[in-house]
């Protein structure tokens, strides 16, 4: 892997940019690997990267039915934060946030992590109580979160409507300054490049069609559209399709898959300096470096794998955006799209060993998995390498739905999920 640097740019400028190499190779699949990861999204590629860098396991294949980063990694609204309520969540999401800081340097790839602040609005007494509880819980866990008055919120985000006669007046806000955004595609590409350089095989257009198990129940490999590929350890990181893959291994999951939509506006000059979320009016917004307003909607109400969703969901979200930011009422929307998110009953992920020996699962990130990408890959790689969870993901078992030891983060997102 040739290092990217200012000298590399200068060198390539001198010779017509003919020396850039492919960021990752596309090898033919081998008959057998030590570890197979199902799903080349951010979480899967990060898992492969940390298997190679932290645990020295490089005989790894990442199988992807479509193209790398083409699922929810390429469809989310790129928001990063760790202001979750419970200790377990604080542990895993802040682990990720600490890795975001410095990720570009580690990967030698600009993931454009921008700690521009995530501000969550309160519009009524209940919001104030919930958000202040989050602020206090976060601070006890060493996570930055602070309470703002409406005037301070306006100062932090000037286009926000804080007038007292708004239909849903802003009565306060919680601000996590370390929160922000990153370039979603670059995260997948950076991890792919780093993993590939260390010998990991990234195999695109290779759909898993079955999970093979030995007589004793242990995993022996996977059937794919490119033939059988053997491995004693298989990690499923398939987002909305996780339950489909797990069913192939005979494991029924506490998951339901829903469409989640997002949309972007025409590009405009910098106007939204941070991320703004509102649970009550039901929307969140930030601005990409290209200038588009990036807006996230809620999930549709029914199980679907259609990667689309109802128009009324977008309309509802835009109503909320126009309520929060009357200056955007004349903005044109450019594109909208949907991703399929796998939602658990307690809205917390599952990163765990499974009842099947050699089978591991990292799923259930629901509407908010992007922010956790580095931390999720890091602890999932540990879980696979050691056949034992990292202390950070130890609470995120499948068994919690039998024991009742839930991690109830249903209030964590800004939209219905």
């Amino acid at each position: 892997m040739k290092k990217y640097s200012v000298f590399a740019i200068a060198r390539e400028a001198m010779r017509g940019h003919k020396g850039w190499e492919e960021q990752w190779s596309s090898p033919e699949p081998k008959k057998e690997y030590d570890v197979i990861i199902v799903g080349a999204g951010g979480h899967g590629l990060a898992t492969a990267y940390y298997l190679a860098t932290v645990h020295g396991i490089t005989n790894v294949a990442v199988l992807e039915k479509g193209w790398l980063g083409g699922g929810n990694t390429g469809r989310n609204t790129t928001i990063i934060r760790s202001n979750y309520l419970y200790d377990e969540s604080a542990g895993i999401y802040d682990h990720a946030l600490k890795l975001w800081d410095g990720l570009s340097q580690e990967l030698n790839y600009n993931v454009m992590y921008s700690a521009r602040g995530v501000m969550m609005l309160a519009h009524n007494v209940h919001d104030v109580q919930v958000l202040k509880r989050h602020v206090h819980a976060n601070r006890l866990n060493g996570i930055d979160n602070e309470w703002l008055t409406p005037e301070q919120a306006k100062e932090f985000c000037p286009p926000l409507n804080t007038s007292k006669d708004a239909r849903y007046p802003v009565v306060g806000a919680a601000l996590q300054r370390r929160g922000g955004t990153a370039r979603h595609d670059a995260v997948a590409w950076g991890y792919a490049r780093g993993a590939s350089a260390r010998g990991v095989h990234i195999i695109q257009n290779c759909e898993v069609t079955g999970v093979k198990r030995a007589a004793n129940g242990a995993v022996t490999g996977v059937d794919t559209t490119r033939g059988f590929i053997g491995a004693k350890k298989v990690g499923v990181v398939a987002a909305g399709h996780s339950s489909v893959i797990m069913n192939m291994a005979g494991v029924r999951m506490p998951l339901e898959s829903y469409p989640l939509q997002a949309l972007v506006s025409e590009p405009v000059k910098p106007v939204v300096p941070c991320v703004v979320m509102s649970n009550t009016v039901h929307a969140y917004i930030s601005q990409s470096d290209k200038g588009e307003l990036v807006i996230g909607a809620g999930t549709d109400q029914y199980v679907s794998y259609s990667q689309t969703g109802g128009l009324h969901i977008l309309q509802h979200t835009l109503d909320a955006i126009c309520e929060m930011f009357p200056i955007f009422t004349r903005m044109k929307m450019l594109r909208s799209w949907g991703g399929i998110v796998d939602v658990t009953p307690d809205r917390s992920p599952i990163l765990a060993k499974t009842p099947v020996p050699g089978l591991y699962v990292n799923c259930g990130w629901g509407t908010g998995g992007f922010k956790a990408t580095p931390g999720s890959g890091h602890v999932f790689a540990h879980t696979i390498a050691k056949d034992d969870p990292h202390p950070i993901n130890a609470p995120f078992t499948i068994e919690r739905f039998r024991t009742g030891r839930l991690i109830d983060e249903a209030a964590a997102a800004a939209v219905a999920h």
Binding site: R252, L255, V303, Y305, G310, H312
Partner: protein
């Protein structure tokens, strides 16, 4: 937005009038306190989440307000049929539907 046929009103109405109520044909135990942890987990948390044909409950919230069941393909979001609550899970689906039945 989906168009959904309410089997009570016998009309196709826009999705906005309806609330999805999750997977259908999950029987509630008559003796909930006597359920084992495993069985309670299956009843309460485990879902089939099929990619293909799903049997699900809907409620015609802003109409007759009644619950009914539907068969839908989760890849195309097309409804195969709807039927009244309490009717058995259809063993055969109508032939005119081109849908693939989930394994």
């Amino acid at each position: 937005m989906l168009l959904i046929r309410c089997p009570y009103c016998e009309e196709e109405r826009p999705e906005l009038e309806f609330r999805n109520a999750g997977e259908a044909h999950i029987a509630r135990s008559a003796n909930m306190a006597g359920e084992s942890d495993d069985d309670f987990e299956k009843f309460f948390f485990i879902r089939s989440n099929p990619k293909g044909i799903i049997y699900e409950r809907w409620r015609h919230m802003h109409g007759c307000a009644r619950f009914f069941n539907a068969v839908r393909d989760t890849v195309t979001d097309k409804f195969v049929m709807t039927y009244k609550a309490g009717e058995p899970k259809p063993s055969k689906l109508p032939k005119n539907s081109n849908e693939v039945v989930a394994k």
